[in-house]
């Protein structure tokens, strides 16, 4: 009985969800499945098979995967170190990683441009120590770099949270029973943080797959991701039907990748951020 009453607390959100999440989605679907004259069509969805679009979605998947992998490799040891510090307040660590977001995103990416450009700060330092000049900006590497910079906190936070939940006694017990550091890592820490890893992978891979601003600002307009194609259709080509169609396809990709990750996630906490 308590439970039934409690469920009604979700009422306001339920209404909000229908009005502002599902209804707009219906609009996109409508646009995706019609032509400019309002006739029904599948061509906007099928347009994904066009070589240009295939190329851009493959590139998005590739850069997204690299970015996710780099984030994971950077974040995992970091979280192990952080969790060994045993901060009194875990939320303090969380804040340290979301604090940069209080500086406007576009400004931060602009700052990276200053750092990485041909005559930029990093190149000046490299030249001063005699390494010489490296072209960094406006490459795919720069785009991945920017994505890692922007999304790394989303990998760190869920992993860190699952890691601090491991009781020290568990690790001690394992060591007492003769497990080496490596065995502890593989047999205990890794399985216990798996749901954190999965959350992190989703939280990084999905925005990386759909981003378009980073590729524009750090790729110098030379890197065309599927997000850029959609943006172009909405903002420049003004073909909203095609843009919507491609968005629907992109959404399917996102759902597919989430479903794939959820297969590994047995305790169902995969979508929880922290």
């Amino acid at each position: 009985m308590y439970k039934l009453k409690k469920q009604f607390l979700a009422g306001p959100y339920f209404i909000w969800m229908i009005g502002f999440i599902l209804l707009p989605l219906a609009f996109i679907l409508y646009y995706a499945l019609t032509t400019a004259d309002g006739a029904f069509t599948f061509s906007n969805i099928a347009a994904i098979a066009d070589p240009v679009h295939v190329k851009s979605i493959v590139l998005s998947l590739k850069l997204g995967a690299i970015c996710t992998l780099v984030c994971l490799v950077l974040a995992y040891p970091l979280c192990m170190i952080l969790s060994s510090f045993r901060f009194r307040h875990q939320s303090f660590v969380v804040f340290l990683f979301i604090l940069p977001m209080w500086m406007n995103f576009m400004l931060r990416i602009l700052a990276w441009r200053l750092l990485l450009s041909n005559n930029g700060i990093v190149n000046s330092i490299l030249a001063a120590v005699g390494i010489g000049h490296i072209k960094m900006l406006n490459t795919q590497t720069a785009v991945v770099f920017g994505m890692v910079y922007d999304f790394l906190p989303f990998m760190i936070l869920p992993i860190y949270n699952s890691m601090v939940r491991i009781k020290p006694e568990t690790l001690e017990a394992a060591r007492d029973l003769g497990a080496g550091s490596f065995t502890v890592l593989v047999k205990i820490i890794f399985p216990l943080t798996l749901s954190g890893i999965i959350s992190g992978v989703i939280m990084v891979f999905v925005p990386a797959l759909t981003s378009f601003v980073i590729s524009d600002l750090l790729g110098g307009g030379k890197v065309l991701l599927i997000g850029n194609v959609i943006e172009q259709e909405f903002m420049q080509g003004t073909n909203w039907h095609l843009g919507s169609g491609l968005s629907v396809v992109l959404m399917l990709f996102v759902i597919a990748s989430m479903a794939l990750m959820n297969v590994f996630d047995k305790d169902g906490g995969g979508t929880a951020v922290w």
Binding site: V52, R113, G120, G220, G221, K222, Q232, M235, Q236, N239
Partner: protein
């Protein structure tokens, strides 16, 4: 809980303060206002204040970046703009879509200040000069760093394909502008709708892509001022801004010809404050106001009174005021048919995905 309060108290105070402002604004919202849609930083702020003081009309300024983006917001139709400034071909497109209403220039007291030559050039997108009023004009050309590139070299678009400048060339991140050099080098009209000609131009641009440093829109001026590239395809106004920051920079329009652009004001059909809009346009033609805007924006002004009042040095500055021999080779963009527009969009994606 305590820390929660600590955070929320100052924030709540700010919210409250902000809220007071909000309600004050809302009170006089619809009475005597003018909703202006313009490019970013394209209107001297003091001009707005002056207009508000003189007429008691409150201006709500909305800014945008690219004509296409403006089109998206404009056609969405949720804000009823009273007066809009945009580029030639977009004015033409909106006229053809029946979104623009004629302006009654007979009531203007300063309309005769406008240069007849520019009004003549405007006829390509507004044949009767009845829908639009020119605001600024200029060319598309090459901004170059004189320490890296010589002036003679920049007399031809060919320089943009020169491999010695690998990774030192900035192109425009907008499809039609980037196609101009390629089309002109091939001797084609920049308003061509011929598919073969466009495909040829694309091939040329694909060949160029490996040596291009970046396709930028907004950042070109700063990148050039920092010396990160040797040359860039830019609008004359942006060139003037960059040259102010760095003395080594110079601007040239290649002899093969280029684009002449005219940014103009128009009054949408859905305008709700027509009288205010016409008052505003007349106000913009006034010599002191046009001068203030010229000094702020630094693009070529179609206002003859402003030009006459300028120093010889400024008047003859080819970066700001394109000389006649250059203008002869330049063409205003025409709005392309829907098929060609979609074709352009596709070619653009093809270039970018290479």
């Amino acid at each position: 809980m305590k820390k929660f309060y600590m955070l929320s108290l100052p924030l709540a105070a700010a919210l409250f303060l902000g809220g007071c402002r909000g309600t004050a604004d809302a009170a006089d919202a619809d009475s005597n206002t003018l909703v202006v849609l313009n490019y970013g930083k394209y209107l001297e702020p003091s001009v707005i204040e002056q207009f508000e003081e003189e007429t008691g009309i409150k201006i709500k300024l909305e800014e945008y970046e690219s004509p296409e983006e403006m089109y998206t917001k404009f056609t969405a139709g949720s804000i009823s703009y009273d007066v809009v400034c945009t580029s030639d071909y977009m004015v033409e497109r909106l006229i053809s879509e029946g979104e623009v209403s004629p302006i009654d220039f007979s009531g203007f007291s300063n309309y005769q200040n406008l240069n007849p030559d520019i009004l003549e050039a405007s006829r390509i997108f507004d044949p009767e000069n009845q829908y639009s009023m020119p605001y600024f004009y200029g060319t598309l050309g090459i901004l170059y760093n004189t320490t890296m590139v010589s002036q003679e070299e920049t007399q031809s678009w060919n320089i943009l394909w020169d491999d010695t400048y690998r990774d030192s060339i900035i192109m425009q991140n907008s499809v039609r502008d980037t196609f101009v050099p390629a089309l002109r080098l091939l001797g084609y009209d920049i308003n061509t709708e011929d598919d073969r000609e466009l495909t040829d131009a694309l091939a040329l641009l694909i060949e160029q892509k490996p040596i291009v440093y970046a396709y930028y829109v907004d950042e070109t001026a700063d990148e050039m001022a920092a010396g990160n590239a040797a040359m860039a395809l830019v609008y004359s106004g942006e060139a003037a801004y960059a040259m102010e920051l760095n003395d080594d920079l110079s601007y040239s329009v290649p002899k093969e010809g280029s684009n002449l652009w005219i940014d103009s004001w128009f009054i949408p059909k859905r305008c709700t404050h027509r009288e205010n809009a016409e008052k505003f346009l007349d106000f913009l033609c006034r010599e002191d106001v046009a001068m203030a805007n010229f000094e702020y924006v630094c693009y070529a002004s179609p206002n003859q009174k402003v030009v006459d009042a300028l120093d010889e040095e400024v008047k003859n500055d080819p970066t700001i005021f394109p000389p006649d021999e250059i203008l002869e080779n330049c063409t205003v963009y025409k709005q392309l048919g829907i098929d060609t527009t979609e074709r352009y969009s596709y070619l653009w994606k093809t270039l970018k995905s290479e």
